[in-house]
């Protein structure tokens, strides 16, 4: 039963979907405050390389090392996000160009490969990695075994993050303020909410999430460092936020769906099943579906109901409101 196609797809979809989920949650927080950050791919790659570096250089017990590595990755991601935040919030630069600049600066053939090569990280497997935590007895349970108990700590942490982000946005005062800042910064400002501080904070936290997303690759999925290890996952994470209508719980569903699509092609190949040009459509599907969702979202009236922050991408200038 645990070898059935569906169970394998869901279980591996959760594995591949976890970095997408982390990245999307971070981007969601930034976008809810009105800052579009197209630098997710770059932040992820820097998080991936720094997390891997930490695991290779820190010699403590396994749990502590991994926790420190995730912390380093989060810090690295937040540091990258700080550049973007400074440019778009303080200097009022174009969010689109700045985000792309961040990906060019930090991403493949940029800072991440500079660091990876300069710190001699290529060629060695990670000293310690995230493994499945539960006993093999639990993992062998039918259906729920591989899906629920066969995952590593990062997966469970991502579930906790979904709950926390969701509660934060819908049930807390600061969460309400963020949404106000993203919808109408002028009104939020008039209410006494510090728009600049909120935008900085959420862009930085978004970067930290992206850093952890990158570390998920180098510490769990493929525990090694190679250049461009994320392979475009950052862009899928950005797409996912739209796909999920800016809602954390839907991010989880979408992330696992896109993750399952990624593992569909090798899984089908292993079973000698061909469904047309499998490679092509499974790879292109997340992007095409996001376009479809975007079109639906942008149809008249639907935009507001579905949750796109009204001031997304617009700088806030108190003197020009």
């Amino acid at each position: 039963m645990n070898n059935s196609l569906l169970v394998i797809l869901i279980a591996s979809g959760i594995g591949y979907g976890t970095p997408l989920l982390f990245g999307a949650l971070g981007e969601l927080l930034a976008e809810r405050s009105g800052v579009l950050n197209l630098g997710v791919e770059g932040m992820m790659l820097v998080g991936a390389v720094m997390g891997f570096w930490a695991v290779q250089r820190i010699h403590a017990n396994t749990g502590l090392t991994l926790a420190a590595a995730v912390g380093v990755a989060a810090l690295a991601g937040a540091a990258m996000a700080l550049i973007h935040a400074f440019l778009v919030i303080t200097l009022r630069a174009s969010q689109i160009v700045s985000g792309l600049a961040l990906t060019i600066f930090a991403g493949a053939a940029g800072l991440s490969s500079y660091l990876g090569n300069d710190l001699n990280l290529a060629g060695n497997p990670a000293r310690v990695t995230f493994h499945a935590v539960f006993s093999s007895h639990l993992q062998n349970l039918p259906v729920v075994g591989p899906i629920v108990f066969g995952q590593n700590v990062l997966v469970y942490a991502s579930w906790l993050c979904v709950v926390l982000v969701s509660l934060y946005l819908s049930r807390t005062r600061p969460g309400l303020n963020v949404r106000a800042v993203g919808e109408s910064p002028a009104a939020a400002d008039a209410m006494g909410i510090d728009v600049v501080a909120y935008r900085y904070a959420h862009t930085l936290v978004g970067g930290a999430f992206a850093g952890v997303a990158g570390a998920t690759f180098t510490l769990a999925i493929t525990p090694q460092w190679v250049d461009n290890i994320t392979g475009g996952a950052g862009w899928i994470a950005i797409a996912l936020v739209i796909f999920a209508f800016w809602r954390p719980v839907l991010c989880l569903v979408g992330a696992y769906f896109f993750g399952a699509l990624q593992s569909l092609s090798p899984t089908l190949q292993a079973r000698n099943i061909t469904l047309g040009p499998t490679e092509l459509w499974t790879n292109a599907m997340p992007y095409l579906m996001t376009i479809v969702v975007l079109v639906v979202v942008s149809m008249s009236g639907a935009r507001r109901r579905l949750g796109a922050p009204a001031s997304l991408g617009a700088p806030y200038l108190r003197e020009e409101r």
Partner: protein
């Protein structure tokens, strides 16, 4: 400290900001080099040697600069209307696919070479334009944000490109010969479809590819379009103030479609030039053309040129030199990834410098304002 909007932008700042950005890019990357234990001066000397001075360097720089001129122009043409077409990457792939198809088809029929090349140019433009029209139509008719859609289509185009060479026996794929069974490659263009190059300096190996000439021509066309025609004027008004344009009765939808089409056509021409000028076969390798990120770097070029078409050509040459050096140099003084870091820092500082062009930073209290205002 107060920041206020300028009523008019001084000319000298428009030139000074990109120039200072370039210098600052080198300075900040120098700090990165120092911090990681390299000698920046020796790295930069090697960089200039490899980019411009050493034997054959200029020729290679032209090879890197040509696609950047196209993608830079594509970005500049669209960004001027505040249409953020960041899909030049995918439009370039599509232009390469259609351009290669035209070259393979017409080059093999024994007609005159000029005809095959012209067909490739037209097909490349058409392929890029059609791909750009997808986000264009969605923007014009459904008001869908073109940034994300054009970006998403880059990946789709990349997968299509790889698919055509690697996962199917398509028209573009080389199916005969021993090598074809070992590693999938594109079918080579017939000789009559290969684009000519004007030799500038035979010993130094400097040749001006036809694509570079076409890029300069495209720059002239974009410049004339935006500064000499009603179309260009209306497009800029639409970019600056869509509401004013609508009140004046300008046709928004048509203009969006036209500008996206033009932008995509230029990027697509860049793709055809890649096939015709340089690779002479469709390059579907995910680590080949797709690893060059010409489309994204084109945005750096366009931003640094402040969307001026002729400045795009100049900046493309400079950044092309950087790219060329990054491709040839690899070693202790030149860690890989340095070029990406430099491009990023240059773009960051150009973006930050925009603040100085658009706003005035004033120190002191409000009272000083009247005295400093130049009427």
């Amino acid at each position: 400290m107060r920041i206020e909007r300028r009523l008019w932008q001084p000319r000298w700042l428009v030139v000074a900001v990109p120039a200072v950005s370039l210098v600052f890019g080198f300075f900040a990357s120098g700090i990165v080099l120092l911090a990681t234990g390299h000698d920046p001066l020796s790295s930069y000397r090697q960089l200039f040697d490899a980019a411009f001075l050493s034997n054959g360097a200029l020729g290679q720089t032209l090879v890197s600069a040509t696609p950047l001129a196209f993608t830079g122009l594509a970005a500049a043409a669209a960004f001027r209307m505040r249409l953020f077409n960041i899909g030049a990457e995918g439009q370039l792939y599509m232009g390469a696919i259609t351009g290669a198809a035209a070259g393979l088809y017409f080059g093999g029929r024994g007609g005159p070479s000029a005809f095959a090349i012209a067909a490739m140019v037209v097909a490349g433009c058409a392929g890029g334009a059609l791909w750009a029209l997808i986000p264009g139509i969605l923007r014009a008719f459904f008001r869908t944000n073109e940034i994300i859609t054009s970006l998403m289509l880059n990946y789709v185009a990349g997968y299509v490109l790889t698919y055509l060479i690697f996962n199917t026996e398509s028209y573009w794929r080389q199916t005969k010969g021993f090598n074809a069974t070992v590693f999938p490659t594109g079918k080579p263009l017939p000789p009559s479809a290969v684009w000519p190059a004007a030799t500038l300096h035979s010993q130094g190996g400097i040749a001006l590819p036809l694509g570079a000439g076409l890029a300069v021509l495209a720059a002239a066309v974009v410049w004339a379009l935006y500064s000499r025609t009603r179309f260009g004027f209306e497009a800029q008004v639409l970019g600056d103030s869509p509401r004013a344009a609508r009140y004046a009765g300008m046709r928004t939808r048509r203009k969006i479609l036209a500008v996206m089409g033009i932008s995509g056509a230029i990027a697509g021409l860049g793709g055809a030039s890649q096939v015709g000028d340089f690779s002479h076969a469709l390059d579907g390798d995910p680590n080949g053309l797709q690893k060059q990120f010409y489309g994204y770097t084109g945005i750096v070029v366009a931003a640094l040129a402040r969307y001026n078409p002729f400045a795009v050509v100049v900046v493309a040459f400079l950044i092309g030199g950087l790219e060329n050096a990054g491709n040839t140099l690899q070693g202790a003084d030149f860690p890989s990834g340095l070029v990406g870091v430099m491009k990023g820092v240059i773009l960051f500082s150009a973006l930050g410098g925009e603040l100085l062009v658009r706003y005035r930073v004033r120190f002191g209290r409000r009272g000083a304002k009247a005295a400093a205002e130049p009427a």
